[in-house]
Amino acid sequence: MNAPSAARRLGAVLAILLSTLGLLMPPVAEADSAAVGDLHVAQTLGGRELTVILRRVTGVPGPLHVDVITHKGTAAGRLDLAVVPTGVSTSASAASVSGTTVDTAAVALSGRPGTCSAVLDVTRAGPWELSLSDGNRTATIPFIVPKQLTSPPETAVYLGFSGAGVLLLVTLLVAVRARRGWWTLVPGGALVACLAVAVTGALLSSRLPPPPSQGGQVDATIDGVDDPYAYSGQRIGDYSRPPGTLLLSSSTTRAGEVADVRLALSDASTGLPLDDVVVHDGALLHLLVVGPSGQLWHLHPIRTGAGVFEVPLSLPEGGHYAVSAEFARRGGGVQQLRSATGIDAVPATGRTTTGSRPEVAARTTAGDLQVGAGARTVADVQVRLSASSLVAGQAAVLSARVGDTATLQPWLGMLGHLIVVGPLAPEAAVGTATQNAQVWAHSHSMGAMPDRTHDTSGTDGTAHAPGMGPHSPSPGLDPDMPGMGGLTSVNGDSTADETVAAYGPDICFVHTFPAPGYYRIWIQAERGYTVLTVPYLLHVTGTVEKRP
């Protein structure tokens, strides 16, 4: 075989190898980048309590799958969905459609609780807004369409190893062809350098901090989402922003009438509209309202403008209603703002109009409560609560069994919610007492305690639903695992949505009451597409004397 033909052959081999590498590399890189998970957003849109799930977008342009979950009593009707890109960019072409509606879809709500879906097309990565309209009101939900990315160290690893592979062949070629042996050292040295780059990249890739999350920690731009590494800016440790201020549109309303409550959030430093609210615990904003006789509303006002949220509210009776809002600003940290005024409802004159009261998922009347834990029946579901160590300063364990079957549904990503206000006088009007209460707490449950020592006794624990839930024994699996399965996202996988009625029936909260006294608590859990709100009045004793 003569030399030129050998060289040609080697060249061909090299070309094939290179093209193979080139074909192999991009998908490998793509698979390595973690995807962003689904976005669950609860929305109180008019009279409907909806959960809107924006499923993760895996590639652009591509489909955005939106699931709208309706609850028991949600009226049938039609929702109009639209997606609008909102980002800015240094490139005029990338931002040319910003602010305009790119795709629309309609969702028919059947009136039966469950899922209705729509698929919208998103054209590029960056910040977007999804708007939902029921004809009267339009809610906008900001979201980010992510891009599949490779970090610079990963790129260095891929390039380094590919380069090393190519240079290996070059070295071999030079070693075979070159008349003087030391020529081999040139590609050989480069090969070593490539390997060094690759190994360095591999070692660094896990150590280097990720760039700040676009839309989560810093304001997102199209360029930033396209390449968060290039637009990461100065690495500062703290992205948090000042607290907000909550303004209610009006502090008085008429009982028995539907009134739109308008909440304006503003930055406590600059006073500018606070428009960087991010989805937290399955909603942009959690509004809690406590009424005069112990009613609790847990609603999710829709975003209608920059820092403006609206929700229709019908207050059933005259008296004072305490209001608080929970939300998280971009940059981190959840805030709970209590309206300094609350809402005063003047009694309805003459007749009580209840006909047009909107269906609201999370509302209850408490009436007269007996002090202490025990059994209650709400919406035909029996709830048994047991409470241990109700001592100020000690962790109290509140265990509730909601119904008898493992058919609880995750609501706002959790199995149970606990709202606590107090200490307050047990006989006082609850709204006013809440307004002045020192504690207004909100805690969550992700299932029963693993050891089950705090289970409510006297119920048959065997009545589990047929196998839907993570509780059902699977061969070779630990059947005593508490019901966390599917609720936490791994690598951006979907978490269980509200259609998965497979959890519970035990939910457990651990809360430390800071001061002795009477507390009003509400336990919330979803079952049969109904959010159950169960009120209790607990007495927390003072710190136990250390020496008797």
Partner: protein, 150 residues
């Protein structure tokens, strides 16, 4: 001679590769975006939009200190409607620090341009340039995130 040449070549190749990898590992500094052709040197041009207009913001000197701004409105429908020209207000805030600068009403210029002579960006950080377009009964508010290096 040849041995020296060889050593030099190897060292050169290694240096080049190291430099490349360093460049790849350390992300390029932000703000190195391509300026628009008609913008002053070092300026940054950001494009955003509302349902009515494409809004093009040019920040002359995106560094700490005072900077001139240019806002250009390109109506979506092609040419502007016959009504009065919209009023453009510009402001800025540094949310992490809680700083804000006074509102400036931009001075109208031909071709949908609006000018602000001096907007004080007094410290480095991730600023928000707030542009409010008032016109035709609508009020659009646009936020342009802007990184201001030292």
């Amino acid at each position: 001679m040849s041995r020296r040449f060889l050593v030099a070549a190897v060292v050169l190749a290694a240096t080049l590769l190291t430099a490349l990898s360093v460049h790849a590992l350390w992300a390029p500094w932000p703000g190195a975006a391509r300026p628009a052709s008609d913008a002053p040197r070092g300026a940054i041009t950001l494009t955003g939009g509302t349902a009515r207009d494409m809004v093009i913001l040019t920040v002359s000197a995106p560094v700490t200190g005072s900077t001139a701004l240019d806002v250009r409105l390109v109506p979506r429908g092609g040419t502007a409607t016959g009504g009065p020209a919209p009023v453009v207000m510009v402001s800025a805030a540094l949310p992490t620090a809680g700083h804000a600068v006074p509102d400036c009403t931009a001075v109208r210029a031909p071709d949908g341009h609006y000018h602000v002579a001096a907007l004080p960006l007094m410290m480095p950080g991730r600023w928000q340039v707030l542009v409010t377009v008032d016109g035709d009964g609508h009020r659009d508010r646009l936020v342009f995130p802007l990184n201001v290096p030292r």
